[in-house]
């Protein structure tokens, strides 16, 4: 069986590199994009099995990218996991961001900093559900 393909979109190159290496070690094929526009282009071209998307990015932010993916029939079915520092369950702004994210089409959230094991477990769970 071929490896599941994950696209990680985050403007912090260090974080995107860390997530890519962690997912590669776990057996996934992991691609990266360093802003929303590049992420949208790669998602349309590569049709990954899952997109991991940061919210706060210059230009197109995570909500914009998520909405665009879900409007396009070619990418509408790709599950999106939003990766955000602010998405803490116990913070009012985090709760609002989650609602906005779900409205934009995200299927789940994970709060940065995310431990390697949690990232891999969350990705596996979402792919199993998809």
């Amino acid at each position: 069986m071929s490896a599941k393909r994950i696209l990680i979109v985050d403007d912090n190159r260090s974080l995107v590199t860390a997530a890519q290496r962690i997912l590669q070690k776990a057996g996934f094929e992991a691609m990266t994009a360093c802003d929303g526009s590049e992420g949208l282009t790669k998602a349309r071209a590569e049709k990954p099995d899952l997109v991991i998307l940061d919210i706060v990015m210059p230009g197109l932010d995570g909500y914009d990218v998520c909405r665009a993916l879900h409007k396009d029939p070619a990418t509408a079915d790709i599950p999106v996991l939003m990766l955000t520092v602010k998405g803490q369950a116990n913070s009012p702004s985090g709760a609002r961001e989650k609602i906005d994210g779900f409205d934009a089409g995200a299927v789940d959230f994970v709060s940065k900093p995310v431990k390697a094991k949690e990232l891999v477990d969350r990705v596996n769970a979402l792919l199993w559900l998809a």
Binding site: S14, L15, R21
Partner: protein
């Protein structure tokens, strides 16, 4: 106000940083280098530009980026300073932000010194 450390030893929680990368020290050093050589210079330039132009959103966004990396790679003291700066930027009030930015620069230097020591063994 909390005390700032003088050396590099308390700038990083190495156990926490390693947990973020699944215990892989080589990967941790690689991504810290990416942060220090690629992300941080760009984010610091944006922070300074935001402060010079009294642009709170730019200050908040730049501090947010620095904060995310420091949080992920164990830079606990720098993280706290970046968080304060981000909060200032988000609130639109930059009073005292220049002093905080200088402190953040100093904390990132200590963070870098810590990993330089680790690499030197």
């Amino acid at each position: 106000m909390e005390e700032e450390g003088s050396g590099a030893s308390d700038a990083v929680d190495l156990d926490e940083a390693l947990e973020m990368v699944g215990g892989d020290m080589e990967l941790l050093q690689e991504v810290v280098a990416v942060f220090l050589e690629e992300d941080y210079p760009r984010q610091l330039a944006a922070l300074k530009e935001g402060l010079a132009g009294d642009d709170a959103k730019t200050v908040g966004d730049a501090a947010h980026g620095i904060k995310g990396a420091l949080a992920s790679f164990g830079g606990r003291t720098g993280y706290q300073v970046a968080l304060k700066l981000e909060t200032m930027g988000r609130s639109g009030t930059l009073t005292g932000a220049r002093e905080l930015a200088l402190r953040l620069e100093s904390e990132v230097s200590r963070f870098a010194a810590f990993f330089a020591q680790v690499e030197a063994g």
